[in-house]
Every structure is written in structure tokens, then in C-alpha cells.
């Protein structure tokens, strides 16, 4: 009887590890048991929730800490999160180009030095109109021109509205860069400068890490953070609460400190999207730079906010 139980526990533990390994798309064969042959039961039991929703007990000795691995498989990352439709609102009246968003984004995605996924543009539409700062992320368009032209389905649109890139599939033709009217995409012209530990990770579409030589990268709306119930890095990094992120189906957006009803915010502040005339239907909305918190001071290139 005892042996029977043991083998059941063995089986459970193995399948747990196998499950974890599978979920992490590790290169190791998940169906092998050879990693735990000489583990002795310690007698200390731990309660766990099985995949079927049952509470099970497993000997602590059979548990193994799983290294931080991408949370979902590539196939699932391509699907997206069911029942969600993500949206971002950028309040231009709050931006003074502190660029904490950019720094956080570059840091968390390990972007090659000199490149940025988030850009903060000094915009002046015409000679006598007011200049303002305009941060841009990927617009995660509902009619994404980049996805339309990709020959190998390396960049794709998910059901939750996010547009991502599979850097393991991208052939580096750069058609998507030519197609994107928002100039949001960057290319890894050389081997990205990465720590060894990061470079050796398996690529995940949801973290967009690690960037790979000869492939395209861009803002990904941080779906890995969203999956954990956190906000994208730019949103939480901004000291002025410029970025608000949320779910259009729940009709809420938040910058962490404040939460708004999306529809009311857009209605009351006359929100708009960039280049609406192109028909790309972006998921990023802008609130006009009125009643601004800060005056516009362009220290970085006082020379030319040439074009609007």
C-alpha cells in the first residue's frame, strides 16, 4: 500500500515538474524522470492545487523550484488573453518629457543602447500652434498595416488586441517597418548588447526578451506584466501619470494612482487617436494637451521640432 502511495506521489511530482517545464518551453525533455531518481521522501507534506482544481498533497522533497521562465507557451502567447481588449490612454497635458517611461522600457526589455521603443516627440503642428510632448508606443492597431504585410506571420494580432513579434520566426525583411506609419518599429542591426544570462533565455513573444540580431522589435504592451495583474513598465514608471492602461471591455483605465472610466475620460477630454484618416484603428488614445501641468520646455533639441 505504502509503495503504491509513493508511486502515486512520484507520478504527481513528476507531472508537476513536467507541467512546469512544458509551460516554460524548456529545451529539456519534460517527460523524463531522470532528474529526480534519488530523492527521498522527507515526510513533510505540502498542499497544492492540481490542474483539475483538486487540492493534493505532495512531499516537499519532490518539489523543485522552477527557474523564472516565460509564463506561457508560444502558441498561447499568439492567442492572447480571452475576454480582454487592451487599450491605452496617453494624457498629453501631463507630459513634460521626463522620459522615465523610456528608461524603464529600455531597461526591462533589454533594448540595444541607442534604440527606443517609446519615443517622446516634441510636436508643433504649425507655426502658430502650441508645441507639446507626445510619447508614442506601438499603437496596437486593430487594422495593423505591419501584420498585413508580414510574409511569415512573425508579427501577429492577438484577440486581446495586442500586436506582438515572434523573433524566432522573423526573417528580417523589414517590410513591417516600411508599412508602419507611426515609425514604431526598430531593427536589431547588430547583435544586441545583452548580459549572458538574458541572451541565453528562450525568446518569449510576451516579454519580447531577448532581442535577436537581424529581427524587428517594438513596444509590446507588456502582456507578461498584464498577465500577472501588473501594469506595463512605462505606465508604472511615469511620475506624472501620463499613461493609463486598461481593458476597453471593462471600460476602465488606470495609471496606478487614479482609475477612470475609459468612455467618460475620452468623452470629457475629447480623446483622439493618431492618424485616424489612415484607417489603422489604433488602441492608443490621446488626450489633448490642454490645461497643462507643465510648460513646454525643449532642452534636448532646441533646434527643430520641424514637422508636425
Amino acid at each position: 500500500m505504502k509503495t503504491n502511495q509513493n508511486s502515486r506521489r512520484d507520478f504527481l511530482a513528476t507531472s508537476l515538474i513536467a507541467g512546469a517545464a512544458l509551460a516554460g518551453c524548456s529545451n529539456k525533455n519534460p517527460f523524463t524522470t531522470e532528474e529526480i531518481p534519488d530523492v527521498k521522501a522527507s515526510g513533510e507534506m505540502v498542499k497544492l492545487l492540481s490542474v483539475d482544481g483538486e487540492i493534493i498533497e505532495v512531499d516537499k522533497a519532490f518539489l523543485k523550484p522552477v527557474p523564472t521562465l516565460p509564463a506561457v507557451m508560444n502558441t498561447e502567447a499568439r492567442e492572447g488573453i480571452t475576454g480582454k481588449k487592451f487599450v491605452m490612454v496617453i494624457d498629453l497635458s501631463r507630459c513634460k518629457s521626463v522620459k522615465k517611461c523610456q528608461t524603464a522600457c529600455n531597461h526591462m526589455h533589454h533594448i540595444h543602447p541607442g534604440q527606443n521603443w517609446i519615443k517622446v516627440y516634441p510636436i508643433q503642428e504649425a507655426e502658430h500652434t502650441a508645441p507639446y510632448w507626445q510619447p508614442t508606443t506601438c499603437m496596437h492597431c486593430d487594422e495593423p498595416p505591419c501584420v498585413k504585410v508580414c510574409p511569415v506571420d512573425a508579427t501577429f494580432k492577438r484577440k486581446d488586441g495586442i500586436v506582438l513579434i515572434d523573433s524566432d520566426r522573423c526573417i528580417g525583411c523589414r517590410f513591417c517597418m516600411a508599412a508602419c506609419p507611426y515609425s514604431t518599429r526598430v531593427f536589431n542591426w547588430e547583435q544586441p548588447l545583452l548580459e549572458k544570462e538574458i541572451a541565453e533565455k528562450p525568446y518569449s513573444c510576451e516579454t519580447s526578451v531577448p532581442q535577436k540580431k537581424g529581427t524587428v522589435g517594438k513596444c509590446d504592451f507588456c502582456p507578461d506584466m498584464v498577465r500577472q495583474g501588473n501594469l506595463p513598465h512605462c505606465v508604472s514608471a511615469c511620475p506624472n501619470g501620463v499613461f493609463m492602461f486598461g481593458d476597453i471591455l471593462e471600460d476602465t483605465v488606470t495609471n496606478g494612482a487614479e482609475t477612470f472610466r475609459f468612455s467618460e475620460l475620452i468623452r470629457d477630454k475629447a480623446g483622439y487617436r493618431l492618424m485616424e484618416d489612415l484607417g489603422t484603428k489604433p488602441s492608443v488614445y490621446y488626450l489633448p494637451p490642454v490645461n497643462r501641468n507643465f510648460p513646454f520646455e525643449n532642452k534636448e533639441d532646441a533646434a527643430d521640432p520641424k514637422k508636425g
Partner: protein, 435 residues
């Protein structure tokens, strides 16, 4: 003028060994190719970093070169198919020249597009994960089709000539004889075989016209399916096709002249051929000019804000020298030369052809790069080097190497096979005498 007998024609048109000039020519082309290969080796090792392309100018002279190759390859269909189907007899000595230009150019178009890829080793993804909605996949499909039709259009008319070549066993040497036998030993000059190839060539000649239009229209759509000022044009397909016929015909005139001088083919590629090709070239240059007027003057009349910077950059700004150089060398000057009868003699026609080809190359550069320097949102938050595009030596070496490679293919072809169809020339001489 001496009478052209069958043996004289064979003697004149038989493929010749490289002379001193030929050897120097081949050697220099090989050196250029080797330099290009070396540069490509560096690019494979270091990544596309070795080029001057960056996030804004993400397509550079590789893509212009690709468009140029696709353009010049269209001539195969013009000379072989269009003139054949319209029963134009004078083009017979030019068909093979046009076809080999087509085959070699389309081959190098495919190669240069692979050179442009960031991950060339993932080329197979196009077949594994290809999505029919991407214009790149359309290009892959039509270019492959065009390559094979062109190859067949080169091969079928070659069969009777191979039969003649096989007859000169000692002269050919071991290797060439083996090649000729491999390619054409089944041909026995029977009526049935002629009937079948005639039919096949007719079918191919009809099939190649829509395919030829497709390759360059689809290539134009790589640009026209985007929103960018300078590319977002409904004129693009026709503009590209007319430009392609122009540069292709220019290329044929250049090749005609060089083959005529080098192989002393004055009796076969006559002054009359230059006169007629000169007229074709004028017509095509005027046609291309017409589409250029549409392409530039209509948006310039409106000067939409997004187009303004791009157009002014071409007319009077950063790219004005290249723009006007291209317009004058590819169109105005050749039109001026070739409108006059004296201008359609071999040498001036040759010069006009060279101008067309050179001008057209720069025209392709202007189609690709300036647009990318004028994105909708201003260039910002990038290193200063991203604001300009001056190709690096690696890019030039690879681009020139690919051009040299295409010339090398044509050169070797002319060394191995008769560049003017022997059999058809004999037939036509006979039928002229019987008249």
C-alpha cells in the same frame, strides 16, 4: 556584301573562346564578385550593422538594386513575347540577348533580396509559414514563375542550335560537348519536334506577358501598399512597368552594341536593328516620362503637407542632384539623341542605352530611399546617424558585385552558346533569298 551561306553563318555565330579582352573582362568581373562575396561575409558575421541602413532608412541600395534587376529582366518578355506575338521579324537576332538578360537579372534579383534579409538562414519560413496576404509572398510566387518561363523561353529556341553545335565535336572540347549532348542530344530536327516547340514557345510567349507585368507590378506594390508619401500612389504599377521596359530596352541596346563590336557581328546585328531599337527606346522613354509627370507633378500641384518635404527634397533639396541627373540621363538626353535618325546609328544609340541604364539605376535609388527619410512623425529619439543614408563600402561592394555577377552570367552564356540564334538566322536568310 558577301552572300551569307549556311556554313558562313555557323562560322560567324559559333561561340568563341575568350580573347585577351574577354579574359580581362571576366577576371575583373570575378574580382568584383569576390569583393562582393567578402563584403557579404562580413555582413553575415556582423549583421546588417555593416550597412548604412538604420531604423528610418530601413531599405537601401540592396532594395533599389532588387527593383533595378526586376525592371531590367522585363525586357525578356518585351523582345521575345510582345514582338513575337505581333509578328515582328527583325527582332530575331535580339531574342536570345534579351532572354539571357532576363534570366540573369531575375536570378540576381532573388539573390539580392536574400542579401537584404536580416535572417537569411530563415528563408525557408517563407514556405513554412508563408501568408498569402503579404505582397512579398506574391513577389516570391511571380518571380519564381517568371524565372522558369524565361528559362524555357531561352532553352526551347536553343535546341536546334545545340544540334548544330554537337556536330563540331573537336572544336567544342570535352566539357562543352558533354554539356551540349546533355542539353540537346534528343533533338533530331524532325518536323514533329519543330511543331511541338513552336507551339510551346507560343504558349510561353503568351503566358509570360501577364507574369512579366505581375513581377514588376507586385514589386511596385511592395511600396505602394504602404502609407508613405512618395509610395502611396495608384500610379505605381504602370510607372514601374513603363520604367522597366525602358531600362530593359536600354540594356538590350548596350548588349547589342558590345556583342556586335566584340564578335564582329555587323552582318547580323545591323544598323537597321539599332535604328529600330532606337525608335522603341524613344517611345518607351516618352512613356516613362509621361508616368513621371503623373507621379511628381500631380502631388506637387497640391503639395500636401506630408508630401511636401519629400517632393521638395527631390526637386531642390538633398536629393535634387541625383533626381535631375536621373531624369536627364534616363529620359531627356536619350530622347533627344534618339529622335534623330543620326542618333539611332550604333554608337550614339549605344551611348543613349548606357545613359538609360545608369539613369535608371539611380532612379530606383530615388524611389526607395528619400521616402524613408520623410516619415509621418519626425525622426526623433535616435542616434544622429539615423537621419541620413550614405551607403557603406560593404553595400556598394555587394551591389556592384551582384551587377558584376549578372554580367558574368551573360558573358559565360555567350561563351558557351551562340548569342544569336544560328538556326533561325539560317532559316530567315533562306526565306529572304527565296523571295
Amino acid at each position: 556584301m558577301d552572300k551569307l551561306t549556311e556554313s558562313k553563318i555557323i562560322e560567324d555565330l559559333f561561340p568563341q573562346k575568350f580573347g585577351k579582352i574577354g579574359q580581362i573582362w571576366v577576371l575583373s568581373l570575378l574580382l568584383l564578385c569576390a569583393l562582393g562575396a567578402f563584403a557579404y561575409g562580413r555582413q553575415l558575421y556582423y549583421g546588417l550593422e555593416v550597412t548604412a541602413m538604420r531604423d528610418y532608412v530601413s531599405w537601401g541600395i540592396y532594395i533599389s538594386n532588387f527593383v533595378f534587376f526586376v525592371a531590367i529582366s522585363l525586357v525578356g518578355s518585351l523582345i521575345t513575347a510582345v514582338l513575337r506575338l505581333t509578328n515582328v521579324k527583325w527582332s530575331t537576332p535580339l531574342t536570345r540577348i534579351a532572354e539571357i538578360i532576363a534570366v540573369s537579372a531575375i536570378t540576381f534579383a532573388s539573390l539580392i533580396i536574400i542579401v537584404d534579409m536580416g535572417r537569411p538562414e530563415r528563408f525557408y519560413n517563407l514556405f513554412l509559414h508563408g501568408r498569402l496576404q503579404s505582397p512579398i509572398i506574391w513577389d516570391v510566387i511571380v518571380i519564381t514563375t517568371y524565372f522558369f518561363i524565361s528559362l524555357l523561353l531561352l532553352y526551347f529556341p536553343l535546341l536546334p542550335d545545340l544540334k548544330i553545335l554537337i556536330g563540331f565535336k573537336e572544336r567544342n572540347g570535352k566539357w562543352l560537348q558533354k554539356l551540349y549532348v546533355f542539353l540537346g542530344s534528343f533533338w533530331n530536327n524532325s518536323l514533329a519536334q519543330f511543331k511541338i516547340t513552336d507551339k510551346a514557345i507560343n504558349i510561353l510567349a503568351i503566358a509570360i506577358i501577364p507574369v512579366a507585368f505581375s513581377i514588376h507590378t507586385v514589386t511596385s506594390w511592395l511600396f505602394a501598399t504602404t502609407y508613405r508619401p512618395g509610395w502611396d500612389s495608384t500610379n505605381f504599377g504602370a510607372y514601374f512597368i513603363s520604367g522597366a521596359f525602358l531600362v530593359g530596352a536600354g540594356g538590350v541596346v548596350v548588349a547589342m552594341y558590345i556583342f556586335r563590336i566584340h564578335y564582329k557581328l555587323e552582318k547580323y546585328i545591323t544598323n537597321d536593328h539599332f535604328d529600330r531599337m532606337g525608335k522603341v527606346l524613344v517611345m518607351l522613354a516618352l512613356l516613362y516620362l509621361y508616368f513621371n509627370v503623373n507621379e511628381f507633378l500631380v502631388p506637387a500641384f497640391k503639395m500636401k503637407k506630408s508630401e511636401e518635404e519629400h517632393l521638395l527634397g527631390l526637386f531642390t533639396g538633398e536629393f535634387a542632384p541625383i533626381f535631375w541627373f536621373a531624369i536627364f540621363t534616363a529620359m531627356f538626353i536619350p530622347i533627344f539623341i534618339l529622335l534623330f535618325k543620326k542618333g539611332r546609328r550604333p554608337l550614339p544609340a549605344f551611348i543613349a542605352g548606357v545613359l538609360v541604364v545608369v539613369g535608371s539605376w539611380f532612379k530606383r535609388f530615388l524611389i526607395v530611399t528619400p521616402t524613408l527619410l520623410h516619415p509621418f512623425l519626425p525622426m526623433h529619439d535616435v542616434p544622429a546617424s539615423y537621419h541620413h543614408y550614405i551607403p557603406t563600402w560593404e553595400e556598394w561592394a555587394i551591389a556592384i558585385g551582384s551587377l558584376a555577377g549578372a554580367l558574368l552570367v551573360i558573358t559565360f552564356f555567350a561563351r558557351i552558346f551562340p548569342i544569336i540564334p544560328i538556326h533561325e538566322t539560317i532559316l530567315e536568310t533562306e526565306s529572304n533569298e527565296n523571295k
